[in-house]
């Protein structure tokens, strides 16, 4: 079939119209949220379905950022997310290097144990995690949330690193070792820098999960407003200010616009990361 003719065919046009129209509806909640964040509450009430604000004004953002403490929540989110991503990547890369490139005592036991727990029926494991972090005395700092988010086995990332490190030619580390490079230096200076694609994929995935986490920060910040993250802060804000629609929209925008921006800028890595989860 001639591609030029196919492109003009009514079916082709219809598909585009449908995909585009549904696509607008699909992201409408975010457009609505961002537009509402620039309106006043009075304007919100009378504007009905009108999307654009009369004039873009930032008082909602000022109110959310200062009065409602979203500046605190925002930086908590940033600190938690950055720490978790860095620690998780490091831990998984170390594990992936040892498991992927060397045979050592206990290797098989380790791999089997980590994999087997994925298939075990679990109870409500949040409670033991919560009491464990509490008994370590970390429940009054961001470290409690960070440790709880870092905790556990990251099977997907480990598998990605294992597969990648195993695929690297073995001459690489051998020649380095002949030149007198030790185990750690070979890893840190030669092998790790080569694994940038895996680091990028894992970092993006972990960034998304941690930035959006809700249950862990919720239980670790009960009664500790200064440790709240954006999601938890938003939850409290809406509970306390049911009539401040546009303040809510500004607060929600502060939470969502950063992750949306990172996604749009680096969407290839997001898609690859998610695809990696299904391909294994």
């Amino acid at each position: 079939m001639n591609p030029a003719r196919r492109k003009r065919s009514p079916v082709y046009v219809l598909v585009h119209v449908l995909l585009f129209a549904i696509g607008i509806v699909w992201i409408y909640p975010f457009i609505w949220m961002i537009m509402s964040s620039f309106k006043t509450n009075n304007e919100y009430i009378v504007s009905g379905i009108k999307l654009l604000p009369q004039s873009f004004q930032f008082s909602n953002y000022k109110r959310a950022w200062e009065t409602a403490h979203f500046s605190v929540y925002f930086w908590n989110n940033v600190i938690i997310t950055v720490s978790v991503v860095v620690i998780v990547i490091l831990v998984c890369a170390l594990t992936g290097y040892a498991v992927g490139r060397y045979r050592f005592k206990g290797r098989l036991v380790f791999v089997t144990a980590v994999t087997a727990t994925m298939f075990m029926p679990k109870g409500y494991t949040i409670i033991p995690i919560y009491s464990l972090v509490n008994s370590l005395g970390l429940n009054n700092s961001l470290w409690g949330v960070i440790l709880a988010e870092v905790g556990g086995a990251h099977v997907l990332f480990i598998l990605l690193f294992v597969a990648y490190f195993r695929g690297l030619p073995k001459e690489l580390s051998e020649s380095a070792e002949i030149d007198g490079s030790g185990f750690v230096r070979t890893f840190a200076q030669i092998v790790l820098p080569l694994s940038k694609p895996i680091i990028a994929t894992a970092a993006i995935m972990q960034f998304m999960w941690t930035w959006n986490a809700f249950l862990m920060p919720l239980i670790f910040t009960l009664g500790k407003p200064e440790l709240r993250t954006l999601g938890v802060g938003m939850f409290q804000f809406v509970g306390e200010n049911t009539m401040d629609w546009t303040g809510m929209a500004a607060a929600a925008s502060i939470s969502l616009v950063p992750i949306l921006a990172v996604f749009i800028a680096m969407q290839r890595y997001f898609i690859e990361g998610v695809s990696g989860a299904i391909k294994g």
Partner: protein, 320 residues
């Protein structure tokens, strides 16, 4: 491919160096030590304790002392509110999976068509909700579907489909439906990308030779694409089902299980007992409910896992 037989043969060559191998073994153990510690503390220990706590009457303060045998389990399985939440969770999962998985496949097939322009654009649009914070989205939806000046009501009234605004999330007739719709919308993009990955992993030569043999587009779909996608499809089904059965953030933020427990889900039910605050928490009981539900989810996964095996999806499932 087993992990053991592809390990570097550097071991043997390095053998003459006395002590070298032993030192390397130690380094390997040191490298896995952080992950091992995190695994023992935050995976293994919590799994064991999630069972242990279930046998105690415990408010979460101090060590659990009050052993009560199977009382918590008996209370769980005789509580109608638990079964209500259980039913809701199953229904939520069934609706989400039944709508999402086939529609995501349809869109993936469309986006995979060679001649369609703007693939990346559409993929980005439809994936967008996936990357957003579920709890925040849930709260935004509370306003969008709000009874007072909610944009859904305003729009439907303007279109003449409604005469008076509906309290979508406050009414027992509509709340569950709205939660399901938002649930489908929120994770749809994930299933789309799974399907796209599955489609792209299909062998291209097969399609070419079939086309040379004169197969039409629909025939390709019916006899090659869909049958070959069955294994990856069952994995998608399994993952979607387990995720949907553990819905929490969305329901907690949108309705908190209300109105009248109409949108109560098991994870929300358990949370209420585990972290109710004011010293009234019933951690032992919450743990027992967690075990009952964990076993139920395992049985459902096994049933779906058999489906995976039956459709030849072993290769994919065994990788994780």
């Amino acid at each position: 491919m087993s992990m053991a037989n592809r390990v570097s043969v550097a071991d043997k060559r390095a053998a003459p160096l006395v002590g070298y191998r032993a030192r390397r073994e130690l380094w390997c153990l040191a490298f896995i030590a952080p992950q091992l510690a995190l695994f023992l503390m935050f995976t293994a220990y919590p799994i064991v304790m999630s069972y242990v706590y279930a046998f105690f009457d415990w408010d979460g303060y101090g060590p659990p002392k009050d052993y009560v045998g199977f009382d918590n389990f008996i209370e769980t399985v005789t509580d109608p509110i638990f079964w209500n939440a259980f039913r809701n969770s199953l229904l939520f999962m069934a609706y989400v999976v039944a709508v999402q998985v086939p529609l995501a496949l349809l869109l993936a097939l469309l986006l995979n068509a060679e001649r369609l322009r703007g693939k990346v654009f559409y993929r980005t649009i439809y994936f967008l909700p996936v990357v957003t914070t579920t709890a925040v989205v849930g709260l935004v939806m509370r306003f969008i579907f709000g009874a007072y000046k909610g944009v859904v009501n305003e729009l439907l009234i303007k279109l003449g489909l409604l005469t008076a605004p509906i309290d979508w999330l406050g009414s027992i007739d509509t709340a569950f439906l709205v939660v399901v719709l938002v649930g489908i919308w929120k994770t749809f993009g994930m299933k789309l990308v799974y399907w796209l990955a599955g489609i792209q992993s299909l062998p291209k030569e097969l399609f070419e030779s079939a086309r040379i043999d004169g197969a039409s587009g629909l025939q390709l779909l019916r006899y090659i694409t869909v049958p070959l996608l069955l294994p990856v499809g069952s994995v998608i089904l399994l993952m979607s089902a387990v995720n949907a059965l553990h819905v929490f953030d969305l329901v907690k933020s949108m309705t908190d299980g209300g109105p009248a427990f109409k949108t109560d889900m098991v994870d929300v039910y358990i949370y209420r007992y585990a972290f109710s605050g004011n010293g009234g928490a019933r951690v032992g009981f919450a743990s027992a409910a967690g075990v009952v539900y964990g076993v139920a989810v395992m049985i459902i996964s096994l049933a779906l896992g058999l489906l995976v095996r039956w459709s030849g999806g072993r290769r994919n499932a065994a990788r994780l």
